[in-house]
Amino acid sequence: MNEYVITAENLTKSFGDFTAVDRISFEVRRGEIFGFLGANGAGKTTAMRMFCGLILPSSGKASIGGFDVYRETEAIKRNIGYMSQRFSLYDDLTVQENINFYAGIYGMSRKAIREKSAPLLKQLGLEAERNALVGSLPLGWKQKLSFSVAIFHEPKIVFLDEPTGGVDPITRREFWQMIYEASDRDITVFVTTHYMDEAEYCHRVSVMVDGRIEALDTPGGLKKSHGAASMNEVFLQLARKAKRKGD
């Protein structure tokens, strides 16, 4: 059985003569928490959008959950969850209505949704807010809810694009707790982040500079090979090579 749920081989995306993602290759194992680091403009989001089937690659190969990113994007979509860096729940729907909607478009039955959402809301501590408009919730709660919604249909892989932006440290820690729980259930987590302390939580980390993957290893391995005390230092060493300016 193939243990790799994400594989990329020389995957490239150019817009005109600008190469946003430049021949990246790597694999991600089932249940792994894979950190995808890089400065702003390094090409992280573009790469992630290719994996999710939102844009077509220019060249190279990649498969997600065993499905090809060129030909089988709709099959990929059945097997992944996605949380974008822009907030992705409807402000004018209630907590429960958002869950119903997103679970519904993944084809979950009403009964399954009902059975699953009660314990979820309890776990999130949102039982009282179940019929509150999402727009009225604090940002941290929204983010946790977003993540729960993204894995509600039990995808094989969940893609998280800077999920903890603007959230306080306590909520962030709770958020990562949820990520670990998902990983324990064999959901592969592919996450981009700016926070280097979060990078330490990942099983493995890649660092992207100017569209290329400059380093890929466990956080411990990276620190050792770069002779650094923290991921922050590793990142600064690598990012200094960048020629492209962040946005």
């Binding site: 994007t73 822009r86 478009i105």
Partner: protein
């Protein structure tokens, strides 16, 4: 199917969630439907007349009295001052000036003929033309009366004249509301439906929720249909409300059956919603979508034959009217409501509209990309 229902539910909730918007959606058009049809009265009455009387004779005073008695004209000014008359026209106080020359009565008595001069503000050509026509026929009648009186000879009475009687078919009471209310109902439905759909998808683009939907396994047609159905139901409810008002305020009951109207309206509604979604798909921001749909709508509304006659348009403009779906609905409404047409009578229009509905909605599905 399940996916479709989920989307429809969500759209409904979003529409109904905001009471302020609901009020706008329903109250504003309803108010307009009640008020606006009264504005459309082209019957010529209250024509403002300024008389310049240089004659000051018994005859000129009699003519003035005659004109006053008809009730069509409102004598705004009477005198000898040409400048004042001109000023009255310039300030829109007068529509017509009647010039009675100094020797009006004397010439008629001595030479057997006399003249009058009518000056008409003809900027609005139709109004000017019709005012002048009324004035002319009035003078004609006055002339016959005088002639009979002076000659005492029945022989001349109205010889050499062609009188006219007119019948107005299909709407003998010339009830303007029968014509305006169904038309305005169509226009309001179109404007509201197109507006709401045109900003629908683009709003999800602006908020960012569209990405979340695009990474899901949802099918394109499911998404588009899910957006269409709630708006469709809303539109049908609004139309029913509109017919209620037409009945309540204007006593309008279609000569034909409601079923015929609803059949056509259903197909029409899908066409309009399809156009709205198409606009939404091609726009990047709500502002773009609004401006584009506003542009399309102004052309749809003004080139529909509701306000001006399509027959009088230049050939190229007739083509715009012919590809305009609003033209068809207004035509069908008029035929069913006033002439009692049945489903069989509107088959060609129904066929064209169905083709339209199919075309616009296929394009809407086609142009909605789950990938950027």
């Amino acid at each position: 199917m399940r996916t479709l229902i989920v989307i429809i539910q969500k759209e409904f909730k979003q529409i109904l969630r905001n009471p302020a918007t609901i009020k706008l959606i329903f109250v504003m058009p309803i108010l307009q439907l009640i008020i606006l049809p009264n504005a459309a009265d082209y019957e010529i009455k209250n024509i403002n007349l300024h008389i310049i009387d240089h004659d000051h004779s018994a005859l000129s005073r009699r003519l003035t009295e005659n004109i006053r008695a008809t009730g069509y004209f409102r004598i705004e000014g009477y005198g000898t001052d040409r400048k004042a008359a001109r000023h009255a026209i310039e300030t829109e106080k007068a529509d017509i000036i009647l010039n009675i020359p100094a020797s009006f009565e004397r010439n008629l008595v001595r030479e057997g003929k006399s003249g009058l001069m009518i000056e008409v503000n003809a900027i609005n050509g139709v109004k000017g033309g019709m005012g002048a026509a009324y004035m002319n026929s009035l003078i004609h009648r006055f002339n016959s009366d005088i002639r009979t009186e002076w000659t005492g000879d029945e022989r001349f009475m109205q010889a050499g004249t062609i009188g006219t009687t007119s019948s107005f078919w299909f709407n003998p009471e010339m009830n303007y509301s029968f014509f305006m209310v169904p038309g305005i109902l169509v226009l309001l439905l179109t404007i509201v439906a197109m507006n709401l759909t045109s900003i629908n998808i683009v709003r999800e683009k602006e908020i960012g929720t569209i990405e979340q939907i695009n990474v899901s396994p949802i099918r394109k047609y499911e998404f588009i249909l899910g957006k269409l159905v709630p708006q469709f139901i809303l539109g049908m409810v609004a139309m029913t409300l509109g017919f209620g008002i037409a009945r309540l305020f204007y006593g309008i009951v279609p000569m034909g059956s409601y079923l015929t109207i609803y059949l056509f309206a259903a197909v029409y509604m899908f066409t309009i919603l399809g156009i709205g979604l198409l606009v939404s798909n091609y726009s990047a921001t709500q502002q773009q979508a609004m401006l584009a749909s506003f542009f399309i709508m102004m052309i749809f509304v003004l080139m529909s034959g509701q306000y001006t006659s399509i027959d009088s348009m230049p050939e190229w403009a007739k083509w715009i009217a012919r590809v305009n779906p609003v033209t068809y609905f207004i035509e069908v409404m008029r035929r069913v409501v006033l002439k009692g047409a049945g489903p069989g009578d509107i088959l060609p229009e129904l066929g064209i509209m169905s083709a339209y509905a199919l075309l616009t909605n296929s394009l809407a599905v086609f142009s909605y990309h789950k990938r950027s």
